[in-house]
Amino acid sequence: MTHYDTSTIAGLVDGKLEWPQLKAMMSNFKDPDRFDKYIAVLQERVPWDDQILLPLGPHLFIVRKTDGSIVTKSRSGYEFGDYRQNWKLKARIRVRDTEASLQELYPAMMHCTPGWMELREYIDPLDGTLLEVEAVPPGYPIIHSFQPDLETFYREWLGREL
């Protein structure tokens, strides 16, 4: 059975592992206790005490608050509401749908054509972190990228109560 110590997992989270070690982790059997060590590492790195139940990305987490409610929360501390709702609906948005705004990122000719597609930037209201970018045609409903079945994951896959 494969196991890594917590410092290795911390190195992975922080991007400190060298490529040979990273590659070995890819090729090896997976370590079944990764989740708990990973959560412990992340919990140390956020500036708040709410319990992380599931990471959604480098800056987003599903957490349990002290009142028992489960919400999506960013590293900055901003709360996006019930975890079953699309967190993007409570974010701020900036849309790149002009040549000038797209050419801050791409040379002319090398970006999408306004009218065909736009870049939607979902921004953390507290610290301005860019959390997600959608590339969609105008009028496309905001994407709910991930709707985890948190109860099944905890009860049936991890074998513990949520």
Partner: protein, 737 residues
């Protein structure tokens, strides 16, 4: 319940005198009843003698790899020899894959479909299936991606009984379509796709039929390549037959029969186990889009085809409590009058090759994974056309964008579980695809497809940049091929091939870089060229704040003064680098043609005309303002990043020292990044406010024609997606476009 219609004992060529059809029907009945391959409950061989079981698998697997590595040397095509666009696999009598070689693994399941098609159509009775027979298929509605991928399928017999099939596939140079190349753009019906072999018996007693060989001499351009590719496939299959016979001689036929059943069920269970081990149950939504710019072909294509269109691939992945893995394109747009439709076999194959690169890269890779997956390919959509006469000659154009969300979906799951080493921000389109044809430099009519596209950049990982110029989603062993090898095949010289600045998606970790090739038509009076790639849209997007890699364009300079420059040894273009300061334009006189019509009909070029091909890089991951400023400066110094984007994209302020090297201004960078964060908040609005603004646009149907048509098609084909659209924008049930 399926009724088994068995032949009398002793009549069929299957096990115990049964027909293949009855064996296939029994397999399907048992799977439907039990959910397990062939109803197998216990993996007795594996449980009782695991070492022997593993050795058996390794020997068969080794036989496949050996067949591929040896047989590819027979081919003369750089697509096969240089790039490795071939694959071999072993199948059960019913057509389920047991094991496979490396290479274009997409075809492991497409060839399974072709075998099952032959069985369902009673080939056993007519034309008959005998030891030494050779069947050839390149019909995607039977089992393939498109007709450029040609398959040979050989039955394997043991003591008079059919015990399996050996199959091999190569990507050919030309398919004999009205327009040259392996994947011509322009066909809008099947009748224009070229030479089509619908699981045809082309050989007996281990020899190709003479009538077939003679037909090939005039059916395709450059039949020399076609025939050597065929010999490659047949030789590989013969090696597989010998490998299987060796195993049976040493292990016994009954062990072999038990093994091939168990190993597929083992593959199915392994897949489910991996799903539960690595992912999170729930629903993942990862749509993508692809533009077709045939609006510029009015007069060259009929009205139903000569228009700009937008493909919608609303990919979702649903993972259930027991590890169920459901992949759905509910809401996909309609098939169309172009060459990019993808039959179900192509879609199954595309999914298969992707999952073998991320979720199941290191276990019993076979059709067990297919049995563990549920697919929803809406009938009438581009992913399952209800018109079997539509063109599929280059189905990859929709298939590649269509599945681009798979890696992103799984990566969200990997982030949840902490398996960060597996995370990758999707994949780019494997193009620009350069194709062409016409009189070649040997004085023959030629057609060609340049496969340097199999070395695009990979997308960023969770903790590092993507890799440069190395990968294609459809061939995990990407290789761009030597310039000289392509120049043997194509009447175009390479003037330059180098890293293309800004060809990756920005992010905390950027995508791997793509590259550019400058080509010059040479030693031929004329040549038509095709460009291919997305132009008006981004293919997919990045992850966690990362941006997508660039969208393409096409660029040629015609009627150049290159002949004079060569004669007088004057400077000529060896790079392009930046559309806003093109080195290609700066170093040659001629007529510039540059636009976003990245998909078009054959474009005539003459000798000394120049053509630019920009190969894609990968998508980015994470917030650009978190990218290590030193990495940005390194990208400047190594030519990966155009200087003006260091500040505008990354907020990095750098200056050039006396030696011309870029250096970081730490303080100015910190100030600029702080300012950019403030700007983000100032320039953005709450999403709920934005939705209210945008709703007006939706209500007014204020969209360009391709976008409006895409919504119309998705809503008419899928009431579910229509309800989702109306619900999001607060529209009544009768609202439509």
């Amino acid at each position: 319940m399926t009724t088994i219609t068995d032949n009398p004992a002793g009549v069929g060529i299957g096990w115990g005198g049964r027909s293949l059809r009855s064996m296939l029907e029994e397999s399907e009945r048992l799977f439907a009843e039990t959910g397990r391959y062939y109803g197998i409950e216990r993996l007795t061989l594996k449980e009782e003698d695991p070492i022997r079981y593993e050795k058996l698998f390794s020997r068969l697997r080794g036989g496949m790899v050996n067949a591929r590595e040896t047989a590819l040397n027979i081919s003369a095509s750089p697509i096969v020899r240089e790039i490795g666009e071939l694959c071999f696999a072993l199948y059960t009598p019913e057509g389920d894959s047991i094991t496979l070689s490396t290479g274009i693994m997409v075809h492991v399941h497409t060839m399974s479909d072709a075998i099952k098609w032959m069985i369902r159509n009673d080939y056993e009775e007519n034309p008959g299936i005998e030891d030494g027979d050779i069947f050839c298929n390149n019909d995607a509605f039977i089992g393939d991606v498109h007709n450029a991928d040609v398959q040979d399928i050989l039955p394997i017999f043991w003591e008079g009984e059919l015990i399996g099939w050996a199959a091999g596939v190569t990507h050919v140079i030309d398919v004999g379509a009205p327009l040259p190349s392996g994947m011509p753009m322009g066909p809008i019906h099947r009748y224009e796709d070229g030479f089509m072999l619908s699981a045809q018996k082309v050989g007996s007693k281990n020899r190709l039929h003479r009538d077939y060989v003679l037909r090939c001499q005039t059916a395709v351009r450059l039949p020399f390549y076609w025939m050597l590719d065929q010999q490659t496939r047949i030789a590989g299959c013969q090696m597989i037959k010998e490998a299987v016979h060796r195993v049976i001689r040493e292990e016994g036929i009954e062990t072999y029969k038990r093994f091939i059943r168990e190993v597929i069920e083992d593959g199915r269970r392994s897949f489910i186990q991996r799903v539960k081990e690595l992912t999170i149950p729930g629903k993942y939504s990862v749509p993508s889009f692809m533009d077709v710019t045939f609006g510029g072909e009015v007069g060259r294509l009929p009205p139903e085809a000569a228009k700009d269109t937008l493909m919608h691939a609303p990919l979702s992945v649903e993972i259930g409590p027991k590890g169920e893995f459901k992949v759905s394109f509910e809401g996909a747009s309609k098939w169309g009058y172009h060459s990019f439709n993808a039959p179900p076999s192509a879609m199954q194959g595309g999914l298969w090759v992707l999952l073998s690169q991320t979720l199941v890269p290191n276990d019993k890779v076979n059709d067990g994974a297919y049995f563990a997956i549920q697919n929803n390919l809406p009938y009438g959509s581009w992913a399952n056309p209800d018109n079997k006469f539509c063109s599929v000659s280059i189905a990859w154009v929709y298939l590649i964008p269509g599945y681009s969300g798979i890696f992103r979906a799984l990566s969200m799951a990997y982030v949840g579980r902490g398996y960060l080493e597996e995370v990758i921000a999707g994949y780019p389109g494997t193009w620009n695809m350069t194709q062409g044809g016409g009189p070649n430099h040997y004085g023959q009519q030629g057609g060609w497809t340049n496969f340097e596209m199999s070395s695009c950049g990979t997308s960023a990982r969770y903790v590092m940049d993507g890799e440069d110029t190395c990968a294609a989603m459809w061939n995990p062993e990407g290789d761009m091929g030597d310039v000289e090898a392509w120049e043997i095949l194509e009447p175009l010289l390479y003037l330059g091939r180098r890293i293309r600045p800004n060809s990756f998606g920005p992010g905390k970790f950027r995508g791997g870089s793509g590259f550019e090739s400058i080509r010059m038509v040479y030693n031929t009076p004329s040549q038509v060229l095709y460009n291919l790639g997305e132009g008006n849209v981004f293919l997919g997007t990045g992850l966690f704040g990362g941006y997508p890699a660039f969208a393409g364009y096409r660029q040629s300079i015609k009627h150049t003064d290159m002949a004079r420059r060569i004669a007088h040894q004057l400077p000529y273009p060896i790079s392009d680098e930046d559309p806003e300061n093109s080195q290609m334009i700066a170093h040659v006189e001629g007529v510039l043609e540059r636009d976003k019509r990245t998909i078009h009909l054959p474009d005539p070029h003459s000798e000394y005309d120049l053509y630019l091909s920009v190969l894609r890089g990968g998508n980015g991951l994470g917030d650009v303002l978190e990218r290590d400023p030193a990495a940005v400066v390194r990208d400047l110094n190594e030519g990966y990043l155009l200087p003006r984007f260091a500040a505008s994209t990354y907020g990095v302020v750098a200056f050039q020292n006396a030696a011309g090297e870029w250096e970081l201004d730490v303080e100015a960078t910190e100030e600029r990044r702080s300012a950019m964060r403030r700007e983000r908040i100032e320039q953005s609005i709450p999403v709920e406010e934005w939705i209210a603004q945008q709703r007006t646009r939706v209500v007014q149907k204020d969209f360009i024609a391709p976008v409006r048509q895409m919504y119309q098609e998705s809503m008419s084909l899928s009431p579910t997606w229509a309800a989702h659209f109306r619900s999001f924008w607060g529209l009544d049930d009768n609202w439509s476009l």
